[in-house]
């Protein structure tokens, strides 16, 4: 079981870390999220059967953990400098720099579509939304990002 945990961690850690970055726009927050997600995985691993189920569970748990971090008292009451400018961690990355200027819902769908390669139907399943809504969000997000990159 411990070997399996290590294998799963090594297989998914970076993908989940990047997903967390796309949501939180902050590396230290993303690290906190990843740590929490894998602690949860260790607790619930016995209930997770196949690899695809584990990946799905990890993505959903990462998104939920990101939401929880943003709901925390600290996040709601302390204004971060990141609210005024994108973290300096991403200043050298044009795509991420522009991506992080988009609202959260666009960032998440764009990440799952273009980075993870999920289909809109699968994204709808992960985010528990209609597929048409995902298509709409993806279309609008893509256009906004295109505008930003062309400026």
């Amino acid at each position: 079981m411990e070997t399996k945990f290590r294998d799963i961690y090594n297989l998914y850690k970076n993908d989940l870390f990047r997903l967390a970055i796309s949501y939180t726009k902050n590396i230290s927050d993303a690290e906190d999220v990843i740590q929490e997600v894998f602690i949860k995985l260790h607790t619930h691993m016995a209930n997770l059967n196949d690899d695809e189920h584990i990946k799905y569970w990890l993505i959903v748990t990462t998104i939920n953990t990101c939401k929880n971090i943003n709901k925390s008292y600290w996040k709601r009451n302390i204004i971060s400098i990141n609210n005024f400018e994108v973290s300096k961690d991403f200043n050298n990355n044009e795509i991420l720099d522009e991506l992080f200027k988009l609202p959260r819902k666009y960032r998440l769908v764009i990440f799952l579509y273009y980075y993870e390669g999920y289909k809109t139907k699968e994204i709808a399943g992960i985010l528990k939304t209609k597929e048409s809504t995902i298509r709409s969000i993806l279309n609008r997000g893509r256009n906004k990002l295109k505008d930003l990159l062309e400026r």
Binding site: F17, S22, I95, Y114
Partner: protein, 243 residues
């Protein structure tokens, strides 16, 4: 649909080695804690089982022991127990009079109790309605001198197994020392006689040796001695010598 530019943009960000260590160490620590918890709970459960078995065994033994015993608690907290199965085996054909000889009594009671130095001053026999003997009380003149102490009078009582409940209760009441003053100065204690293989209970009334009552069960006969001028050590020496 994956986008290469997009993937390249994100690929430069990876989980740091510090975070790797943190998560994997956390996992290891948690695993070790789980193992320790298991070990601790196993040892704790084992100890608990042993403790419970031990406690139940002790309780069972005590209960088994107490089934065959009746306890008489005195006001001072002293407890004197008699075996339920004790037969106070006294020949009901005993003839008791002021003229009875020591050897007659010994033969009748079938015990080698009394020393030749005793003389019976008084003999009181209580009989059941069928004329069988309930109890015998003997007042003996004791000429035994131990360590310059003279045993003037010794009162010996025997209770027959055929005695009535009333007599039994009377006897028990005497055992309970309720007829004594019952002050804090009355000291009730016991000495184990290796020779007689029984506990000998005695009361030092008012903290003195005067009127020393002694009780014990020997060879299924309950004995009650009352001696007025002897120490418990001297009485025990006499009893061990006599029995």
């Amino acid at each position: 649909m994956k986008n290469k530019k997009f993937i390249d943009a994100f690929n430069s960000y990876q989980v740091s080695e510090d975070l790797d260590k943190k998560i994997l160490n956390y996992k290891d620590k948690k695993f070790i804690v789980k193992q320790n918890k298991f070990k601790f709970s196993f040892v704790f459960s084992l100890c608990l089982v042993i403790l419970l078995v031990g406690t139940f065994s002790v309780v069972a033994i005590l209960k088994l022991y107490s089934i065959n015993k009746t306890s008489n608690n005195t006001e001072s907290g002293f407890s004197f127990s008699l075996n339920e199965g004790v037969d106070f085996d006294i020949n009901s054909n005993i003839v008791c009079s002021n003229l009875i000889s020591i050897s007659d009594l010994e033969n009748t009671l079938n015990i080698d109790l009394l020393l030749d130095s005793y003389k019976i001053n008084n003999c009181m026999i209580n009989r059941n309605t069928d004329s069988s003997i309930e109890s015998i009380s003997l007042e003996l003149e004791n000429n035994l001198v131990i360590n310059d102490v003279y045993f003037d009078i010794v009162n010996i009582s025997f209770m027959s197994k055929g005695c009535s409940e009333e007599t039994k209760n009377t006897f028990k009441n005497v055992i309970d020392f309720t007829n004594f003053s019952g002050t804090d100065e009355d000291i009730v204690t016991s000495i184990y006689s290796e020779k007689l293989k029984t506990d000998i209970y005695y009361v030092t009334i008012g903290g003195t040796n005067r009127g020393l009552p002694i009780f014990f069960v020997y060879d299924n006969v309950l004995y009650r001695f009352i001696s007025s001028s002897s120490s418990i050590d001297e009485v025990i020496v006499a009893l061990e010598k006599g029995l």
